[in-house]
Homo-oligomer: 239 residues x 2
């Protein structure tokens, strides 16, 4: 058992007290999803049915249902007769994720300029920008990464589509897997703080076209930086 795995299991046991109510499988999936997002279960690690089932005091059948949920969110891969593993993204995955982001996020921002759309609801966007700046002030770069993801989720949310929200929630959760195989989160997240605020400012000035342009540059820069830094680690964890 690795040190990370041991710590993750302690946290799981602590969470056990909270799952008394309804929908056990969904609750288990929620817990595992958060552990994966936080990096307690890093990409590539195996999710043992026996070990996690014992830690949470749930049956294998229930745990397997939770795995199914996470598999469909692409956070877990299921290899036949070998079990469940935390997904390891390829460089192609990252490219595809950014293709989706560029398409959806830019369209959501652009359509704000069209007549007949709902009134701007920038509260969530502004809150995410503030959270990111606050986290940076406290040198909490993991939290800053979370705020950045919330910022982009809020941008996509401006489209007002339940299905696009689901898509982006999933895609950005996947992207987090890539963050965990990158070192130096500060160097990766810090430069984008001010660019997030610039985009918010443009939106508040009703300059949808300007916001879209800034966002396009942002995503292209981010994609390039991530893909260039990625392969070194991918070679280690791929199979």
């Amino acid at each position: 058992m690795t040190a990370e795995t041991g710590r993750a299991l302690s946290e799981l046991i602590a969470d056990r007290a909270l799952l008394g109510r309804t929908g056990t499988a969904e609750r288990v999936a929620d817990i595992l999803r958060e552990r994966i997002a936080r990096g307690f279960f890093p990409p590539g690690s195996r999710l043992s049915e026996e070990r996690i089932g014992n830690a949470l005091s749930i049956s294998r059948n229930t745990l397997r249902e939770a795995f199914r949920l996470l598999t469909h969110e692409r956070l877990v891969v299921h290899r036949l007769n070998r079990g469940a593993f935390v997904r390891v993204l390829t460089a192609d995955d990252i490219g595809d994720i950014y293709r989706v982001r560029l398409l959806v996020e830019c369209a959501a921002v652009r359509d704000l300029g069209e007549p007949g759309g709902p009134p701007y609801a920038l509260e969530a966007v502004a809150a995410a920008v503030a959270d990111g700046e606050e986290a940076a002030a406290r040198d909490d770069w993991a939290l800053c990464g979370t705020a950045d993801i919330h910022f982009h989720q809020a941008l996509a949310g401006l489209a007002g589509s339940e299905r696009l929200d689901d898509l982006m929630r999933g895609v950005l959760a996947e992207l987090r897997l890539a963050f965990h195989v990158m070192g130096d989160p500060r160097r990766f997240h810090e430069p984008y703080l001010s660019r997030n605020r610039d985009i918010l400012t443009a939106l508040e000035s009703a300059d949808a076209a300007g916001a879209e342009r800034l966002l396009g540059f942002y995503l292209e820069d981010s994609r390039r930086q991530l893909i260039e830094a990625y392969p070194a680690h991918a070679a280690r964890t791929g199979d």
Copy 2:
């Protein structure tokens, strides 16, 4: 048991011979997905664990895993302690589906005009148009609806994104649920045959902007027609 349900169960038993190998739950989900798409299990019908499990000779645990898969595809809703039901779309759902279609399909077509994109791969689009025309010639309007969905899936596929393909596959499968509560499929599908071909022709002429414009009108007309015809049935099946 209704007549439709009885027929569906016979078909399920016939399918039993095919699911001997691996991944039982996925195979069961495949079968149920096709039955739902074809309308053997119409929107609103209950999917009894015992009945279907007996018909397919599989255990409840395996069947429940199949239900989970379909639930995450939004084809099935799971009400706590009441079981699994084929989903009944609301008018809002249809509106959201068309918002996604407009955004994704138009962007996929538009980006074809940009430099550096992959070479046009219109084979699947052209094949879907031909399939639709052939089905119409044989008065098979269910098959014509299938071809129409394949046409739009192929359009979205021009973006070359695995995740967008998944999104559109799910969204268009949902849209099929709406088709099943509408009568007169001929009146609904026939007018769009020539419009599909017009879009294809524009793409073959490298006129991405023209294709995008035609597609936008198409989707707006289709959305309006569907939503106007929908509420009469929604009132009957909604709860």
